[in-house]
């Protein structure tokens, strides 16, 4: 990975890809995959290709706070050398303290210089949560600077902030009860710049690169959901796209990790699968270059892309078991809904019948008049 490259804005992406041995066909395939993942019409593929080809390498500063480096691992272990790696190679990653060769003052100087040179234009990527302004800053510092000050200073000149991983997006493990370090998420602190949350513990690598590709193509960030996650990847629940869904629909469940149902690949709902309440792209994009993903490996979804997933009840407790006191009004609401649904369905059926009665049969004599 190329860190510290001077004058990063000279060559177009297509040219650099060719230098890296990526064929035009491979590049277009990537564009098609990006278009389909972001639910863009196929007609957009050439537009994406053209935009990416023209795109200059934007400066990216990557700050790591209270994190485990899993997010960086996810990204870099996305099976070398895929097009995704190269896309990343082709942004100018000016500061990433895990990946860069420089250390100490030289590293910090690189960050400061990149911030100066690209003021107002660089992308800021953050992984890890950080102690909030009211917490003891000593819980996490880099080069003697508190995470909070470093973030706020870097945000000031950033075009946008991408919070990578559940810790940066929602606080994650550091913020789990009892939250000893007073950890908060990036969006708790950044209010005046666009924030994209690429949640997951860790996030799917293609989602990170997908957001970058979208930014390079359109010059703006993708459409987001209520948690600031890109809708294209977080628009559907794991459950809705799960290949084990037919078993759920048929009521076939694994009851333990080693019963006949588990071996037959039945639904893991009763083993605590959080798929129904978790929105992420695992079920469609899978992991390790599309090899597999947790549910395919026989383990229920933990719901790692959702806010407060550490504190949302036991991992192996089914979702249907309430975490708080059971609420009767929900049952009542369900009953009202069922009655309303039945009324609407009956009315609609009545209307279809009415229309069928109004419809006039066509005779061949009438058709003949048209000739």
């Amino acid at each position: 990975m190329r860190v510290f490259e001077k004058n990063p804005l000279e060559k177009g992406l297509a040219e650099r890809l060719r230098e890296h041995g990526v064929s035009r066909r491979g590049f277009l395939k990537f564009c098609a995959a990006t278009a389909s993942m972001m639910a863009l019409p196929p007609a957009m593929i050439p537009a994406i290709a053209a935009a990416l080809e023209r795109a200059r390498r934007p400066s990216v500063i990557w700050l790591s706070f209270q994190e485990c480096t899993g997010c960086t691992e996810s990204l870099t272990r996305s099976h070398a050398p895929t097009v995704e790696d190269l896309i990343l190679d082709l942004i100018s990653l000016d500061y990433h303290h895990t990946l860069q060769a420089a250390a100490g003052e030289a590293a910090e100087a690189a960050r400061e210089q990149a911030m100066r040179d690209n003021h107002g234009q660089y992308l800021l990527i953050v992984d890890g949560s950080l102690p909030g302004p009211d917490a003891n800053p000593g819980y996490s510092t880099i080069a003697g600077v508190s995470n909070y000050s470093m973030l706020m200073e870097a945000v000031e000149g950033a075009a946008a902030v991408i919070a990578v991983g559940t810790c940066a997006a929602f606080g994650g493990l550091p913020a789990a009860a009892p939250n000893p370090t007073g950890a908060v998420s990036v969006m708790d602190l950044v209010k005046d710049k666009p924030v994209v949350n690429v949640s997951g513990c860790p996030p799917v690598p293609m989602v990170i690169t997908g957001v970058l590709a979208h930014f390079l193509t359109f010059g703006r960030l993708p459409e987001l959901d209520e948690y600031h996650r890109p809708l294209a990847f977080f628009g559907q629940s794991i459950h809705d796209r799960c290949y084990r869904r037919p078993f759920y629909d048929k009521g076939l469940f694994a009851e333990t990790f080693d019963d006949a149902g588990a071996r037959a690949g039945w639904c893991l709902y009763r083993l605590g699968c959080k798929g129904p309440s978790t929105y992420n792209a695992c079920a469609t994009m899978r992991w390790n270059a599309g090899t597999s993903w947790p549910i395919e490996a026989g383990h229920p979804c933990l719901g790692c892309a959702e806010p407060r997933f550490w504190d949302a009840g036991g991992f192996y407790v089914p979702l249907s078991v309430p975490t708080g006191p059971a609420s009767d009004y929900l049952l009542a609401a369900g009953a009202v809904g069922a009655v309303a649904g039945a009324v609407v369905a009956t009315k609609a059926r009545g209307r279809a019948k009415e229309e069928a009665a109004v419809r006039q049969p066509v005779t061949v004599e009438e058709l003949e008049q048209k000739l």
Partner: protein, 442 residues
């Protein structure tokens, strides 16, 4: 009714009006249609599956757009939001002008091949909705003339091409002379009633001869019916259930009159889906007989060891699966089993079976002269597929596909003959009494 200003070029008042058409559209909006429209995610994958879009590159041929009139009516009248918008007068109206424009999209540029329905990621049956839209198009008077002609002839003469039994009788006489066999006609209680398509009788008389020889060889009890020989259904293609039901009823009446156990649909795609799948729904009751495509029957006979063949075709043969047969009806393996009997060098087109590409002529496109340029454009997809594997001949089992393949290959100056699978099988039958036959045979 007071005289209305002529709108569609017909000076007299037409029995078909916009009102009548809208009522027909509405009557087609059922649960599945509502579910399909509400689940469309606008991904555009249907465009990538449509030979008419791919070969013209014109986005108006995107399959889901062909359903716009039906969708507008659904959105305006069958959804809460649409009805609220309706109160404020905000809904886009379906007008005669719009339907005139859509006539080309719903008829000329759609063979109802169903590839869009197959690839739709949310499972929308787009081709079924095109079929439904045609109901509204007929009732509002926006139909290509060629299809009206075919429907009128089918109802009035019993054949969309105006073919009469006496023409068929001449052909039967020829076959009986050349084969020395009898073609059974109106045999009550036969096991199989054989139906034909006019196009076959006129263009491919080899088919009936092949059937005669194969069934004699296998000892099958069969018959033709003078009451009804036409299996094709112009009502399905024009998209009108009244005409379609009337034509299906004729087949049912003929089969019931002769008391047959099975009805065989000929080498024709839509005839099979019309009788096999749509028929009982059209007439509103189950049949007292089974329906098979000829290829299914031949494969059953093969499996039972009743067809004995000798010799193999040695040139390179490839197979075109008709959409109605393969994609819509799942008849895919049968034709391959039969090819294995007689083809030494068989090569599959790259995409075949349920993912095959349409020849471009089905769904009434071939009866619609105006659609000729589009029909040839859509054929380019098939042409590219054929060029990829370079067969010496193409084999198929639908008269419309076969005509289109022949015309299309001719158009592009490609010297690849097209043959029907049934004839090919008939050519390889082991003769019953080889010694005696050898003497008399030329």
């Amino acid at each position: 009714m007071s005289a209305t200003p002529s709108s569609n070029g017909s000076p007299e008042s037409s029995p078909f009006t916009l009102e009548r058409g809208l009522a027909a559209f509405r009557a087609e909006i059922d649960g599945p249609v509502a579910a399909f429209f509400s689940s469309c995610v606008h991904c555009g994958v249907c465009a990538q599956s449509c030979p008419f879009y791919l070969e013209t590159g014109d986005p108006k041929y995107t399959p889901i757009l062909k359903l716009e009139p039906l969708r507008l009516i659904w959105a305006a009248e069958f959804t809460l939001l649409g009805r609220l918008k309706g109160l404020l007068g905000l809904n886009k109206q379906v007008t005669d002008e719009m339907l005139t424009q859509w006539e080309e999209l719903i008829y000329d540029s759609c063979s109802m091949c169903g590839r869009c329905s197959l690839v739709c990621p949310v499972g929308n049956d787009i081709q079924a909705m095109v079929r439904k839209s045609r109901e509204g198009m007929v009732a509002s008077g926006h139909v290509p003339e060629g299809l009206i002609g075919a429907s009128v002839r089918a109802v009035q003469t019993g054949s969309p091409m105006g073919l009469q039994w006496k023409t068929l009788q001449v052909q039967i006489n020829h076959i009986e002379t050349s084969t020395g066999l009898t073609v059974p006609v109106d045999q009550a209680g036969a096991d199989y009633l054989v139906m034909l398509s006019s196009m076959e009788v006129i263009n491919f008389p080899e088919y009936l001869e092949a059937i005669t020889r194969i069934f004699d060889h296998a000892g099958v009890s069969w018959t033709l019916s003078t009451q009804c020989f036409e299996a094709t259904n112009a009502g399905i293609q024009i998209g009108n259930k009244d005409v379609a039901a009337l034509l299906v009823q004729r087949v049912v009446d003929a089969a019931v009159a002769l008391g047959v156990k099975n009805v065989i649909s000929p080498e024709c795609g839509h005839a099979y889906t019309a009788i096999r799948w749509e028929g009982p729904n059209l007439i509103g009751r189950p049949y007292p007989f089974h329906v098979f495509h000829i290829i299914e029957v031949l494969d059953q006979l093969r499996a039972a060891g009743r067809i004995k063949t000798e010799g193999m075709e040695t040139d390179r043969l490839s197979l075109h699966d008709p959409c109605n047969l393969a994609r819509k009806s799942g008849v895919i393996q049968q034709q391959r089993n039969l090819m294995d009997l007689i083809a030494a060098d068989f090569v599959e087109l790259k995409e075949h079976g349920k993912f095959q590409w349409c020849c471009g002529a089905g769904g009434g496109v071939s009866s619609n002269e105006r659609a000729e340029p589009l029909k040839i454009a859509a054929f380019k997809m098939k042409k590219a597929q054929i060029e990829e594997v370079e067969p010496a001949r193409m084999v198929t089992m639908c008269a419309t596909c076969r005509t289109q393949l022949e015309e299309g290959l001719e158009h592009f100056n490609m010297d690849i003959p097209v043959v029907g699978l049934t004839e090919l099988i008939a050519e390889h039958l082991v003769e019953h009494e080889p010694a005696e036959q050898a003497e008399g045979a030329t």
